[in-house]
Symmetry: C2
Amino acid sequence: MNKMGIVSVRLCTGILARWTGLCPRSIRACSGMTISQIDEELAKLLQLKAQLGGDDGKHSFVLKTAKGTRDYNPKQMAIREKVFNTIISCFKRHGAETIDTPVFELKETLTGKYGEDSKLIYDLKDQGGELLSLRYDLTVPFARYLAMNKITNIKRYHIAKVYRRDNPAMTRGRYREFYQCDFDIAGQYDPMIPDAECLKIVYEILSELELGDFRIKVNDRRILDGMFAVCGVPDDKFRTICSTVDKLDKVSWEDVKNEMVNEKGLAPEVADHIGEYVSLQGGMDLAEKLLQDPKLSQSKQACAGLMDMKQLFSYLQLFRVTDKVVFDLSLARGLDYYTGVIYEAVLTQSAPTPAPPQQQNGAAGEEGVSVGSVAGGGRYDGLVGMFDPKGKKVPCVGVSIGIERVFSILEQKAEASAERVRTTETQVMVASAQKNLLEERLKLTAELWDAGIKVEVMYKKNPKLLNQLQYCEDTGIPLVAIIGEQELKDGVVKLRTVASREEVDVSRAELVELIKNRTLQ
Amino acid sequence: MNKMGIVSVRLCTGILARWTGLCPRSIRACSGMTISQIDEELAKLLQLKAQLGGDDGKHSFVLKTAKGTRDYNPKQMAIREKVFNTIISCFKRHGAETIDTPVFELKETLTGKYGEDSKLIYDLKDQGGELLSLRYDLTVPFARYLAMNKITNIKRYHIAKVYRRDNPAMTRGRYREFYQCDFDIAGQYDPMIPDAECLKIVYEILSELELGDFRIKVNDRRILDGMFAVCGVPDDKFRTICSTVDKLDKVSWEDVKNEMVNEKGLAPEVADHIGEYVSLQGGMDLAEKLLQDPKLSQSKQACAGLMDMKQLFSYLQLFRVTDKVVFDLSLARGLDYYTGVIYEAVLTQSAPTPAPPQQQNGAAGEEGVSVGSVAGGGRYDGLVGMFDPKGKKVPCVGVSIGIERVFSILEQKAEASAERVRTTETQVMVASAQKNLLEERLKLTAELWDAGIKVEVMYKKNPKLLNQLQYCEDTGIPLVAIIGEQELKDGVVKLRTVASREEVDVSRAELVELIKNRTLQ
């Protein structure tokens, strides 16, 4: 600590000098300061800032949710429930278990996993104790879970919210808090079989959600790395150039080339060479062709990736999904942890909201304007090993459905459609036309609840019958059980069908059965 | 900005002087600095600290979840799903819609709502932009939602995680991240009808979860306040004395009295007077008796609360739940926002984990040892108004099921029981006894997936039949569809029932129907 203290002072004198306008020499008086002393001074400065009233000091109360987040109202929840049911059914059809992990992780668990995106991680305030961050995805917590519990084989899904301090574009379904629906297969298996199942799952889910036409782009990190190598990209620039290529679905090739040359220091001819490769799209045929490519075939890595790509397409044929899958060399995906196959699904129909500007050479090509990625994933064979004390690897492949975009589309559909979205499942309203029957209404309501019927009753002593019926119309309750003095005397209930206005007297003993039958139809 | 800049400098000179050891006068050279300049310097100092390696610089990697949090493994998730289904069914039976809100709120949204518990709120780090905190419960976000959307009537449930920097006791189901299952009724209605429904819901859920016997304690903030007033507690100490009374379910009356007298400055005879009241328990009869109490009846507030308590019990009789409900004057509940009826449910059977020390005068009484609260809630008529710009009130009453404790109990039950918890719903495994049939297995698997059957297949080229059958035994898959050269030639599949080992040849055309029938049974 002593040594560090001295270093700290040497460095801090420069800052103090610039701050105070004094010469560094005169500030050397502060020599001997330690980190804890710097901390103390930092705390004082922050307190000072708070007293002065910086950005934080405003006291006008704002009634809103945090930037980039939203509430879900009951209608949106009804849509969300339907989407989740479709997705979960698919995951269960493929034999997946489910797990859950905490919303925050130790900060160090997330460190060094996301490349250039790490700056988007939300940190919790240091309130004493551990340093924590909100999860950025579900993949890294999954890998941590596997390593921690020494699990080497699992097929699991996980549906939960993740957090990114990204620039929100909420009309297009881009939030800072958003759901991910992840399906992953961990374990040492014969090549490309689990990988093909992940693509089958994307295909099934996007088909069942009826979002319009889509395409699933596939590539392989080894093919990308091999391509970079044969094009002459220095080894230490593979990841950063990968991040740049990843932008091709949003910006033009000119912009991407510009970034490669001017920001990342590639020679223009190297960038052009990359440009030729990343314009290629195809299927198994393209993989075969590239295996003959005089340059690319010199890379062992690329060849391994291309052989696997051929194998993948043969399984995709058996799974009958090749009509939507494209081998696309421009697909890169930004995350650091991928090691093999990568994929991304895009909807190919125009959305009601404006599409991003100019798409050249981008993924969507001639067939339509890309409305953004709705699913993505890939193979990450090294991630679990990063958490294992002995570095023991567990090969993994998975896919994440980005369903906020899906919600947006389905919400807009629901808005446009005449069909009413019911937000409750109530089967009967217990009502009365006469006064002073609250007790009798509550008694009947409790009887029906206890029999498992979904019932509502108005929380008023003497509600008007018209109001009770109107409420049923408004909320879609199909039946009304009406009681009055006469019905009570006769031991019956008048059961009214809201849609037809038909009414029948039913004995109390038969009421439950009849309601069950009527609401089954 | 100019003015603030000058103030900032005047204040900062003192700090710099102490830091550098120079006299304040010589530092006045820095005059003219603004907040943004302070920010800049702060950033530099923080960077400097990071370079030096403070607390953050340790590189011993710890493989764990954050303190007070846990992962859910597939078995725990299966139990959790069952519990949620029970609870959600009940909420839907009572006609509730559902909403969702973000996991974090603007910090100021949570400020001033939780009394002494506010120190337990998790704040997010200031990374620029808004100051955010993790939600502490679902009630305050609900009130914010109502005010923001000008909703005056809703019956909604919300199931989500909340966060408290409390002392975790994980074996007893006390976590820092935990689920709440909230049901609330907002709107102006005739008194005590929605309140009674909330208690009916607690009764139904705790009965259906089969957790053993339970009791629901009921009280009213107005009765407590009236009691404090007639006992001679000063007005400004009502809330803090309320917090002390709230501890009666965990510590003895002696400890509570001690805190009242020695920490909170009550006269001993005032405390003793409170002590007499808070030992009272009963039903409607107790409410009637207290309405005649010469002292308590002098408080208008107390009388209003006692009249409503009588009314509540009359509705609870109609709902047939009075066997578990106790009017208990020691029930206080710590949160600031309650204004009327409050309640709390406790399990009354001993749990396998040790109970808290010494229970005198506590809630559980003679009938058993309290294993902690599993549900609680009450009426909060002022909370929504705190968010409305014009202070417009929306009366609310609600209940929160604290299900972590429920999970703990059901997990322990499942551990103890011989019954296996299935973690997948797979109906069939597609298998083969011969080599080189991977393609045929994948083809059949895809056919069954496409027909909606839940299928698994081994990700190996040539798995052994024994391994495939063993996997079905281990995971509870009931059927195996076996193919070999002969079956392929004959256009059939050998369908094996795992439990009975019975095998039948089925034509491929009839396979889907047969699997559906077999797995219905």
